[in-house]
Amino acid sequence: MSEYNFNNSDKDGYVLEIKDLEVIYETDLETVHAVNNVSFSVRAGETFGLVGETGAGKTTTALSILRLLPDRTGKVTKGEIFFNGENLLELSDEVMRKEINGERVSMIFQDPMTSLNPIMNVGEQIYEALKYHNPEKKTKEELEKRVEETLELVGIPKKRKNEYPHQFSGGMKQRVIIAIALACKPELLIADEPTTALDVTIQAQVLAMMSELNEKLGTATILITHDLGVVANMCDDAAVMYAGELVELGTVEDIFESEDHHPYTVGLFGSIPNLDEERERLQPIEGLMPDPTALPFGCHFQDRCPYCFDRCINEHPQLLKLSDTHSIRCHLFSDKALEVNHD
């Protein structure tokens, strides 16, 4: 067990603490190691960015929090997920459904085109979230009123509540999904690439709306994205994920302004166009992520890393603490480390 208090020492301020989470997808043919020893914490009201390329295990981490991993294949093999001090992995399905999912923790999914039920009007889909989390026994009228409020909150006129998803544009659908997620005023919102499926102008609108709502409602947010620009604009803290592990963890300042970075993070920055610099081409990170069914023994990034040396192949790097807030999983920084977080 390791200690993770990289942000501040006030443990009570954490809404969510994930400790040493390990998730596998198991079939008869193979075992995919999707999430390996992931630990991070989210404070109340903060926006936490989880960055990484496709297949890095970001969505799997998010689904484990809500316990929505695929029934037969997805399994949490190790770790704890504390939500306000309560280990979610130990709750019964019934308690999860009634008290956590949709009420205290909710999720915005990646693709607004398919995430809404096509044959149910949007008002009803928001109403559902309220109906099954109604401890105060509010009347139908009160709940309907809340549906209208929520729609207005995300900038959809309330008279459209009886319309069906196909009558909305992509950006509007995403607003509906956000409305569903916010209907019960959750303490934690997980946004899984909320803007990936949208075009750039709508992206900006949705993000602006999300950060506005974040401020208004004080909801903690985990923002999953592969867009570093989004992280810079929206997040307080961020973690970079690679092949199921966190390779760098810190405040947004650490990630964007610090001198020291994991080679993968450097590669990610090299892959974004920069208008201030004159450059012929973008520099993609060569190669592919390692096969998650057979992860290498040493550093998971060894095959693609330009600084790879013997130790990287022979020894799996630990998360090294460079400052109070900043940690990097790389042997290059072993002499700079304040302390080592052993997995």
Partner: protein, 311 residues
């Protein structure tokens, strides 16, 4: 919506005329002389020739076909049966209700059997229950309906003596045919329900509903099943349509006077007017059933409804 229905009904007219042409054409090729059939084997050649002339059977194919269509459309006169010498609809209309009952029984039985088991086996995919349901479905497909019908008669009519083996006069007469047709068609409903459910249950909106904390029962029925219904309705409509004229084995084994057995009898007798009238009636019914199926789509899926309303 009304405009859409009207359009669909108008579209049926050319279809019906086309079907009439095909049947008329095929019947023209089948061997047999209607005049000889009417007059019997002992009639003289002159009498047969005279009757052939009187019935206009010596005219060319197209003359006869257009005369038939003209009489049918303008005078609503579909001719008289060569076999009974009575207007064709006397026979057709007494048998049509029996066919409708048979088809309804078969359809309802198959639906009540197939949908719940299909949903159950999809929800519990890979479980022992799922395997058991699949084995039952395969067994049902493998059993020929005529054999099932005879086994049922043997057990319930002969050995136990609790159910009648022949006729179609009371609802009790429909019990054994219903079982036969359910065993024959239920597995089709089951399999389409199962596969359609397996598809919708993996949809993103089902996960959204789970993330919302909607109870599992509600997710299965309100989210997954309702979306899975479209192909199921098509199958059920198809079963009803095909049983209307196609439950011949059932009609024959249980001696039920339905339309299917009338058609077979009339084809054998070269009773062209009865064949024509029966098949046109079946085609019309089929068209109406498919229209109802499409209207049910619109009832379930607002996207389809919007399309219909645009015209």
């Amino acid at each position: 919506m009304l405009r859409y229905i009207g359009k669909r009904l108008l579209q049926m007219i050319p279809v019906l005329i086309g079907i009439a042409f095909i049947i008329f054409f095929i019947m023209d090729f089948t061997p047999g002389d209607p005049a000889r059939l009417i007059l019997g084997q002992s009639a003289t050649a002159e009498a047969v020739e005279q009757l052939t002339e009187e019935m206009g059977l010596n005219d060319s194919f197209f003359t006869r076909f257009f005369r038939y269509i003209y009489n049918a459309v303008v005078n609503l006169d579909f001719g008289v049966s060569y076999r009974t010498m009575k207007p064709v609809f006397d026979d057709v209309f007494t048998r049509f209700p029996v066919s409708i009952y048979i088809a309804l029984c078969g359809m309802i039985g198959s639906t009540l059997f197939g949908i719940p088991l299909g949903v159950l086996s999809a929800v519990k995919q890979y479980s022992k229950l799922d395997t058991a349901v699949n084995v039952v479905a395969m067994t049902m497909v493998a059993m020929p309906p005529f054999w099932v019908a005879m086994v049922l008669i043997l057990v319930f009519s002969l050995y136990l003596g609790v159910l009648p083996s022949a006729g179609a006069t009371t609802w009790i007469h429909y019990i054994l045919p219903t079982i036969t047709l359910t065993l024959a068609n239920g597995s089709a409903v089951l399999r389409i329900t199962r596969s359609s459910m397996l598809e919708t249950i993996r949809m993103d909106y089902v996960r959204t509903a789970q993330a919302k904390g909607v109870p599992r029962r509600v997710i299965i029925f309100k989210h997954a099943f309702k979306n899975a219904l479209l192909p199921v309705i098509t199958t059920v409509g198809y079963i009803f349509g095909s049983l209307l004229g196609g439950a011949i084995i059932c009609e024959t084994v249980f001696a039920m006077p339905g339309l299917g057995s009338l058609i077979v009898l009339s084809i054998k007798m070269k009773d062209i007017p009865v064949v024509m009238a029966s098949i046109i009636l079946l085609a019309l019914s089929y068209g109406v059933i498919m229209l109802i199926v499409d209207l049910m789509y619109a009832f379930i899926d607002p996207r389809i409804k919007a399309k219909y309303q645009r015209g």
